[in-house]
């Protein structure tokens, strides 16, 4: 039953998901490598302030990309799970609104963190 509530067609949403997924494959691997044994440090050394600060400042662009890709892809996935599980036809826009607000908050905090350091 076609729903007239979805502003843009679902396929654009999925194209976005696929694109971000492909981006994240590279960027997330890079991020995991930074905290992996390949860096020669044990896990506790990896979490030190200086090392984390150095990474974030040095690879600011990469982590920015990872932040946006992960948040948008992840929350979109959460939206899919929610509209499937709650399947509320009339109140579907509420779910969309909540997801968008959450996305805005996370992106704001993340972007601030990246800019501030």
């Amino acid at each position: 039953m076609p729903s007239k509530y979805s502003l843009l067609k679902e396929s654009w949403n999925m194209i976005l998901m696929y694109a971000l997924a492909l981006i994240m494959i590279f960027v997330l691997t890079f991020h995991l490598l930074l905290v992996s044994p390949l860096t020669g440090k044990t896990f506790d050394q990896v979490l030190t302030y200086s090392y984390v600060l150095h990474n974030l400042t040095y690879y600011r662009i990469v982590f920015g990309l990872l932040l946006y890709a992960a948040v948008i892809h992840g929350l979109n996935g959460l939206r899919v799970v929610l509209i499937e599980w709650l399947h509320v036809k009339r109140f579907q826009w509420i779910i969309n609104i909540i997801i968008v607000i959450l996305m805005a908050v996370l992106l704001a905090v993340g972007t601030y963190t990246l800019i501030a350091i």
């Binding site: 039953m1 729903s3 067609k9 679902e10 396929s11 194209i15 509209i83 399947h87 579907q92």
Partner: protein, 268 residues
């Protein structure tokens, strides 16, 4: 053979056990008929063709949706049979489920031949020219007997009743893949919706339980590819044209019936 059936008479539900003699070559439907005729006349279940081509007797046998008329006892390899109505449907009585929702979803994806010029569907001097390979691109999905097992197995249908369901999507793809059909633009609005084709996450359970090998999971993934191709590349599908009329006199050695004994009007 011990048979445990999920009963429901409109108000209360309960498990009922029967003890029936059964030959290994019997099918579950034979057992059910034997129970109804010998033990309990109130048992309600659907049946019609008894050869697996009409789709009435879909039910859950030992936890898996299957057709009762073609599941042989020897295949089940268990001492007892557990029969339940199909998952994800409203139960009306015993093993009979309500298919109105299933049927409406099928209808909502416009599963019929659509041509730009509807006159071509009204009268047919000649058939469309479809080679055997073109025929092969869609005929697999035309084997669907509408038994409803795939919706019983699908995880998305289990949580989202608004989801169109593997059957409707596979039938939409059957007509989209048909070289004679030109209705893709009309159908994409319905399919490309928040409860349409994108709610399928390829769990493949529909193809696993399909008794006719229709493989709806494959149809839906191809359908997704078509939708993406349409959105991104805006590719137009080219459909076949009707064959041209052949006016050739019959060959000389054509077999002939004996001459008429009476004069008939309009006889060549």
């Amino acid at each position: 053979m011990k048979v445990r059936i999920r009963r429901f008479d409109g108000q209360k539900e309960w498990w009922q056990d029967y003890e029936v003699d059964a030959k290994p070559s019997d099918t579950v439907l034979d057992i059910l008929n034997r129970i109804r005729e010998k033990h309990d006349h109130t048992l309600a279940f659907r049946q019609s063709c008894q050869m697996g081509s009409c789709g009435s007797c879909g039910m859950v046998i030992n936890g898996l949706p299957a057709l009762a008329c073609q599941t042989r006892i020897s295949e089940l390899k268990t001492e007892s049979i557990r029969l339940e109505p199909l998952y994800n449907y409203k139960v009306i009585k015993d093993l009979v489920v309500d298919l109105t929702d299933f049927v409406n979803k099928h209808r909502s994806v416009k599963p019929w031949m659509i041509r730009k010029n509807p006159q071509e569907l009204e009268e047919a001097p000649m058939e469309f020219k479809v080679t055997p390979d073109q025929n092969l691109t869609f005929v697999q999905f035309d084997y669907c007997i509408m038994c409803g097992l795939c919706l019983a197995a699908c995880p998305t249908v289990a949580i989202d009743p608004l989801f169109l369901g593997p059957q409707a999507l596979a039938q939409a793809y059957r007509y989209i893949a048909d070289p004679r059909d030109e209705g893709f633009e009309e159908r994409i609005e319905i399919l490309d919706d928040s409860h349409g084709v994108w709610r399928c996450h390829f769990a493949g359970a529909c193809s696993y339980v399909c008794p006719k090998g229709v493989d709806p999971a494959k149809a839906i993934q191809y359908l997704k590819k078509e939708v993406l191709k349409y959105r991104l590349l805006h590719k137009k599908k080219v459909s076949v044209k009707p064959a041209e009329l052949i006016q050739k006199p019959p060959p000389a050695n054509a077999p002939k019936p004996p001459p008429f004994d009476f004069k008939i009007e309009g006889g060549e």
